[in-house]
Symmetry: C2
Subunit: 254 residues, 2 copies
């Protein structure tokens, strides 16, 4: 079998954050697979067959890609951000493990991208400057009890917390519950950032207190960062957004 | 003041993983500041004054950059990986907060990069496919008790753990202690990856069990990934490295 699958991270949205390696992988592809808005980011060209999909079952897309590759095609699967962070890479390897044994002989590569939390952090200052974690707030693939147990553990351990998939029409209350849990453990004045559509034309960055965050609107394109006890704001001049950062040092006794 | 500071992530090493935005920021700079091996990655050109430093005190480099910018220079500070992850961005904002109030009016931007754990994950498969965290194992800037308390919390919460700064000549025993703690909490067969110098000519990727990891050599260029309970290997043909991945799903009761 001489086909291949490249799982390609497109970054947060701006073309200047797509790595040359990702662009080269897209240039080599004969077939392009992905969720509609990600496929739309890749320019059309002769020789590239596009398979945009609104199917939310990621393993279906993965199997489609592996089937095409087993027929000798060179398939690029596109993800926003980094494909290894709550995106298509794990879905592809799940499909490989449970699928046709011949798929294990395919060339399967991952091209990393700028993941949402690091794109958001860069726009805000350096909020992930200390120890941090990335949690998906979705309970589609894990029990809500696991989500809350993990969140409580990392809040108590004073990590900066990035929440992916904070809310959707089918999961309207989970973010409020998560921020309520955070308020039980962290100070009400802890800085929280809601970073929406980072680097895209409709980007919106809001920095507020944990108390205020419970009332703030969010949507599927929002990434939420909950600061640690050391996370702080540096005020700037009128009309300038303050810098948000987490010092690298943790004093003794905290 | 019309000077500027751009804190630029150079990614793990390969030029094809430097974003166009990072390259553009380097092209605009009049002055280049950073630890010697990172400055060496940027080609020389007329009009660019280079300030390579072997000073390990990152805040000194930050102050130097801010001072130059306050004199009207356009300074790029280079970091490996992503500047917001255990790198120069937090050091710059620390210097701003505690330094000349006029520094707050400077243009200070961060150009994100591919951080080591995501570059390593991409080469290995999708080990960060579930919830994960990034901890610095260095006790230069936080007490060792904080390091171990955080590590224990995330191990018990079943997150995938990426350990930055696992070892140095001044900190020879901390990685062994951390892996020993992991062995008390996670199964001895848990997959562990040691990813050294990812994408550089001397790259070395090793996947082993947690039990084996305690005896494995590591150095300052190594990133350690400790799998979660669901992290698994997909065996492949002779001579082929297995795929390492963490499924997105967590079954009830785990």
């Amino acid at each position: 079998m001489s086909g291949s699958v490249a799982i390609v991270g497109l970054g947060p949205g701006d073309r200047s954050l797509v790595t040359p390696a990702a662009t080269a992988a897209l240039d080599r592809a004969t077939d392009l697979i992905g969720y509609i808005p990600y496929v739309a980011r890749v320019p059309e060209r002769p020789g590239l067959t596009r398979h945009p999909s609104d199917n939310r079952v990621e393993v279906d897309r993965a199997r489609h890609a592996l089937t095409l590759a087993s027929e000798g095609r060179h398939v690029a699967i596109v993800s926003g951000g980094d494909p290894g962070v709550f995106a298509m890479a794990a879905a592809v390897f799940e499909a490989v493990e449970h699928g046709d044994p011949a798929w294990r002989s395919l060339s399967i590569t991952v091209e990393p991208g700028i993941t949402a939390m690091l794109a958001a952090a860069a726009r805000l200052g350096a909020p992930m400057g200390g120890d941090f974690c990335a949690l998906s707030l979705s309970d589609n693939l894990k029990p809500w009890e696991v989500v809350t147990a993990r969140l409580e553990a990392v809040l108590r351990a004073d990590l900066v917390v990035a929440l992916y998939n904070p809310i959707s029409s089918a999961r309207p209350w989970q973010l409020g519950a998560a921020l309520g849990l955070a308020l039980e453990i962290r100070d009400a004045t802890t800085p929280v950032a809601f970073a929406r559509a980072v680097t895209r034309p409709d980007e919106a960055l809001r920095v507020m207190t944990l108390e205020e965050a419970r009332q703030a609107p969010a949507d599927m394109a929002t990434l939420v960062i909950i600061g640690a006890s050391g996370t702080r704001l540096i005020p700037r001049g009128p009309g300038e957004r303050p810098f948000l950062y987490t010092p690298r040092s943790v004093p003794a006794g905290r």
